[in-house]
């Protein structure tokens, strides 16, 4: 049997006030600050610390950008040189061209032909 009275559909102001005033301490502002700090720790929101936003966002460019670019460039050059060297005769010519001192006869650095001693000695004799 239900013995509700007519006031049951309305909040009880006295009990309500008692519950509101005594269930939660008066530290509302501190609690808001705590929640905002926790959200930042979790990487939520625009104010989140950089390290929580992702590895590639800020840390990598600041710490590794220049060494990374240099390493990548060196690797690229190495790969290209390696490809050319292993690419038969044309690669040898390309490498020889790259290493040839300015003014030296190209034939001297060709690896697919034995160098002619006269070619090697001719510039020296001419200089004297």
């Amino acid at each position: 049997m239900k013995d509700f009275d007519s006031s049951d559909h309305r909040p009880d102001p006295v009990i309500g006030r008692l519950l509101r005033e005594h269930l939660v301490p008066d530290d509302k502002d501190a609690f808001v600050v705590r929640m905002q700090a926790a959200a930042r720790q979790e990487g939520l929101g625009r104010g989140a610390p950089a390290q929580r936003r992702g590895f590639f966002a800020l840390e990598l460019p600041e710490a590794w950008f220049r060494p990374g670019i240099a390493a990548a460039a060196a690797l690229l050059v190495g790969v290209l040189v390696g490809v050319r060297v292993t690419d038969g005769g044309s690669g040898s010519v390309w490498l020889a061209e790259a290493l040839r001192p300015a003014g030296a006869p190209a034939e001297l650095f060709a690896v697919d032909a034995r160098p002619d001693p006269q070619l090697f000695l001719a510039p020296l004799l001419e200089a004297q």
Binding site: D8, L19, R20, L23, P25, V32, R34, M35
Partner: protein, 183 residues
Amino acid sequence: MAGVPDSELVARLVQGDEEAFGRLVAEHGPAARRLARLVLRDANDADDAVQDGLLAAWRSIARFDPRRPFRPWLMRIVLNAARDLRRRRTVRQTQALGGDETSREAAPDRQAGRALLRARLAEALATLPERARVAVTLFDAEGYSHGEIAELLDVPEGTVRSDVFHARRNLRVLLAPFLEEVG
């Protein structure tokens, strides 16, 4: 940002607005903390649960239907967080509900009176089943309707009416001297 409706704050929260989050916490935090304390009966555990709930709400804010009221949605998340935490932890009974809360600025006799009232309130609430504690607090302190509480707790509306009725009756008896003062 005072007076900004929840719908606008929620829209800002979707964009990651930390200030909007703070405003929502300020607005709904006290009710969420009361609810969590009714479930966990420990102030620190309750605040931890509210934190879990608020952060979970932010993470899933994109799934919130802005046509619906925000507070019941948030309260359901906080209630689930509190129940999860209760399952994960052995609830510490050494610290009574509200027992750690003292008004630093109050005079000693008033402070003692408030502490005593809190202690009695905690004892009185402890005599009630969890569902009744939640129901009477949501109805009398937070202004929820029986239907809203029924939806939140997943019980029939008649059950909520009965819970509120019996909880009030017990609280009125156990807190009679204080209620006369407050009233």
